[in-house]
């Protein structure tokens, strides 16, 4: 039994970690594409079309990976976690259903028009399709975050004979942690996409791409990151306070606070030890955590001692939280430094370009770390206070799960390698491509009129 439990958890973690990589890019990349397309429509300058064309290919690839890894998720609940649907199916089912009905079909259908229909529909319809795809990906994020948040802070239901029944759908949808988590996730997607665009564009420039398109894309992305990062810190802080209110044991694990204290120190580094229930090699700022969490120097913060047996494993939550913060800080520094240079009209040095290239996937690191904080932080519960993870697991033979787990891991390793290699390969290819082809030049605003003028003038 323990084997199936561990294997199923590993498999779910592998599936969802792999899956989230792609939506975390495509949700915001859809909006970037819409922005590029709008700039093109307004200015008629082909460079925006070039930018669009490069990134729409990245979007197509990313979206495909997101879709296929997402289908896996919809099977996982039944194959490995039958207790989940049996207990909270009345609530989880309709929320997942709304995601499929309102988001999946919308994005999938209009993606076809966005990718292949540019010469078959009027320009405004194509732009509309681009917008609908962006709206679709965001809607899909909305519904899945609703369900995920409900699992953290369940509301609007009652338990009858061990099964959850919905009593108030509005309370279910707008459960206490949903708005914070949704904002946090959408901003994270914005940052992930921005650093991806900046990194790949920097890579093109460094490989001798002197065209306008990568410079424009880089500038747009870095400025967006510079604006979003401080907002994200603010939202993250609010999300943390919300967690303190509803899931204090998670915050205690994030801070490795073993005992309830007034004036809790902010632990910068430590080796949390579950056995002795204390921190080894602790480096801390006195009263720091109380100040952040209660906005008072001597505010009381509940420690893990209050939740003995019902709190998450401390070390992974503690480390993942610090990894997320450190990555976020690095992103802030790089985004602001680069923006300052760009706004002063300075050229980016090789060192800055290299830094941006190294940060290409920084959004992934921060996103995954953040999800680990919140999801491991919910343990031992699958649905806080309602259903434990151990009670939801399947009773099929462990060998089957081991087999599928190995299969998924191999597939994911192959695909992730191929994805990253392909992105950089597309970037290298783009270096060689002409900025603007004649056929695109004809689409430029005023071009035809100007050509006619020249012709009439006998040039």
């Amino acid at each position: 039994m323990a084997d199936v439990f561990l294997l199923s958890r590993l498999q779910f973690a592998a599936n969802i970690s792999f899956h989230i990589l792609f939506p975390s890019i495509s949700i915001a990349l859809g909006w970037f594409l819409f922005y590029f397309k709008l700039r093109y429509l307004r200015s008629g300058h082909p460079v925006w079309m070039r930018t669009y064309r490069f990134w729409v290919k990245v979007f197509a690839l990313t979206f495909a990976l997101g879709v296929v890894s997402g289908i896996t998720m919809s099977f996982q609940f039944g194959t490995n976690w039958p207790g989940f649907m049996a207990t909270v199916g009345n609530i989880a089912g309709p929320l997942l259903g709304y995601e499929v009905l309102t988001a999946f079909f919308l994005e999938a259908t209009f993606l076809g028009i966005m990718l292949f229909g540019i010469n078959r529909v009027p320009p405004w319809v194509h732009t509309l399709a681009t917008l609908i795809v962006a709206v679709g990906t965001t809607l899909s994020a909305f519904w899945i975050i609703v369900l995920n948040s409900w699992m953290h802070t369940p509301a609007g239901f009652e338990m009858r004979d061990g099964v959850a029944y919905a009593t108030d759908w509005l309370a279910i949808i707008f459960n206490p942690s949903m708005p914070y988590r949704l904002m946090h996730v959408l901003l994270a997607s914005g940052l992930t996409a921005a650093f991806l665009i900046a990194g790949i564009s920097a890579y093109r420039i460094k490989h001798g791409d002197a065209k306008k398109a990568p410079k424009l894309a880089l500038k747009s992305a870095v400025l967006v990151a510079a604006v979003l990062m401080p907002v994200q810190i603010l939202v993250g802080d609010q999300h943390g306070l919300n967690t303190l209110e509803h899931q204090p044991q998670k915050v205690a694990a994030m801070e490795a606070a073993w005992e309830t204290k007034q004036g809790l120190p902010l632990v910068l580094f430590a080796l949390p030890d579950e056995k002795s229930r204390s921190n080894l090699a602790e480096v801390a700022i006195p009263n720091g955590a109380s100040l952040i969490l209660t906005h008072e120097l001597h505010g009381e913060v509940k420690g893990l001692n209050e939740f003995a047996g019902k709190h998450p494993p401390v070390a992974p939550v503690f480390y993942a939280f610090r990894l997320m913060l450190a990555t976020g800080m690095l992103m802030l520094v790089v985004a602001w430094f680069t923006s300052a240079k760009l706004l002063r009209g300075q050229n980016l040095s090789n060192a800055v370009l290299t830094a941006l290239i190294c940060m290409t996937f920084s959004g992934w690191v921060a996103t995954i770390a953040g999800w680990y904080v919140t999801e491991i932080g919910r343990q031992p519960y699958l649905v806080s206070g309602v259903l434990t993870t151990a009670d939801a697991v399947t009773d099929i033979a462990p060998g089957n799960v081991a087999f599928s787990l190995i299969g998924y891991l191999l597939t994911y390793a192959l695909l992730l390698t191929a994805y990253i290699k392909t992105l950089f390969r597309m970037a290298r290819n783009a270096v060689e491509i002409e900025e603007i082809q004649l056929s695109e030049r004809r689409l430029q605003k005023g071009f035809v009129a100007r050509a006619n003028e020249l012709e009439q003038a006998g040039v």
Partner: protein
């Protein structure tokens, strides 16, 4: 109409709709994948271009079908996927590989394109065969006997051929010249094997499920139900005749094999559906036993009634945009 006891019927109907639309739509694009030639780059490009704008939305019908099972009949969902763990895993790996191969093949270096073509073909075949295997085990009531697995293997071949058939007829409609000629040839071959598959299911299904035998042989329902096999075999014969005459001058009738195959799919599916109704898991669970709480079903139903017509409308719009013969592979 939305009384509590009617909700399971409505949801069973919606699920049937999702499954059959899935089998038709993803059927043709999986079929095109199965048929992908590995030695003809021009043809494989054209074939993939013909399904490019659609495959993603087609696959979404599977998510909807599984979603409806999960939403409306959670107990059946748990039961089915526990028994089908390994085939479901194979299906997912197949769908993952083919879904991404689609994009990778055009973006990697020319020397690797062949590899991704192969992955696309094998992924499509694996996904189709896994679906057939699952269908076979479902018909056999999830027994784990050797016979059940043999039948499931036969069903895997049958479903793959049925998908190849609908894929080939899709290509007849969407392509011209030598590729169209090839597609006509593929459609004949796949059609021949599909006949064997359909006959096998028609024989085995009533033999192992006494309730099914009863339904198909008891008057008066039997008279109505007899329409189904008669239609199916008439369609197969008609389809074969049409294939023998194609291609016609000015390409008239190129859409006919596809439409015939769609009706054949509908007919076969309704045969299965009538065999089991009201059971959602043969001999184990009826739709009423497996249904979720009415308040949950009603909440999703109102949304579905608004959204499904919209989905059908913009799906129709998308098919209108990409109407006609496929052009050269043009990537955004």
């Amino acid at each position: 109409m939305f009384a509590d006891q009617n909700l399971p019927i409505i949801f069973a109907g919606l699920m049937a709709l999702a499954v059959v639309v899935y089998a038709i739509l993803d059927g043709y694009d999986l079929g095109v994948g199965i048929l992908l030639p590995l030695n003809n780059d021009k043809h494989s490009d054209q074939m993939i271009a013909s399904i490019g704008p659609f495959w993603d939305a087609n696959e979404t019908w599977l998510v909807l079908a599984v979603g409806l099972l999960l939403i409306a009949f959670p107990e059946a969902y748990n039961l089915v996927f526990k028994d089908l763990y390994i085939p479901a895993f194979a299906l997912l790996i197949g769908l993952i590989l083919r879904g991404v191969a689609f994009d990778f093949r055009t973006k990697v270096r020319e020397v690797h394109k062949g590899k991704w073509n192969l992955i696309f073909k094998l992924g499509s075949l694996l996904a189709s065969a896994a679906q057939g295997y699952m269908l076979g085990l479902y018909v056999m009531g999830f027994q784990s006997s050797l016979n059940a697995h043999l039948f499931a293997a036969l069903s895997a071949v049958g479903v793959s051929c049925a998908y190849a058939l609908i894929g080939a007829t899709w290509l007849i409609m969407k392509t011209t010249d030598d590729l169209q000629g090839k597609a006509i040839h593929w459609a004949k071959r796949a059609g021949q094997v599909s006949v064997i598959g359909i006959v096998a299911v028609c024989l085995v299904n009533p033999l192992i499920n006494p309730a099914v035998l009863d339904r198909w042989t008891t008057a008066p329902t039997a008279y109505f139900l007899a329409i189904i096999p008669i239609t199916s075999f008439a369609l197969l014969a008609l389809g074969y005749t049409v294939l023998n005459r194609l291609p016609l001058k000015d390409d008239s009738g190129c859409w006919l094999p596809f439409v015939i195959t769609v009706v054949l799919f509908l007919s076969c599916f309704s045969g299965l559906a009538f065999s089991y109704f009201p059971y959602i898991v043969p001999q184990q669970l009826t739709i009423w036993q497996a249904a979720s709480a009415p308040e949950s079903l009603r909440f999703i139903l109102f949304g579905a009634l608004v959204v499904i017509p919209c989905i059908l409308a913009y799906t129709a719009f998308s098919y209108k945009v990409f109407w006609g013969k496929v052009e050269k592979l043009e990537y955004y």
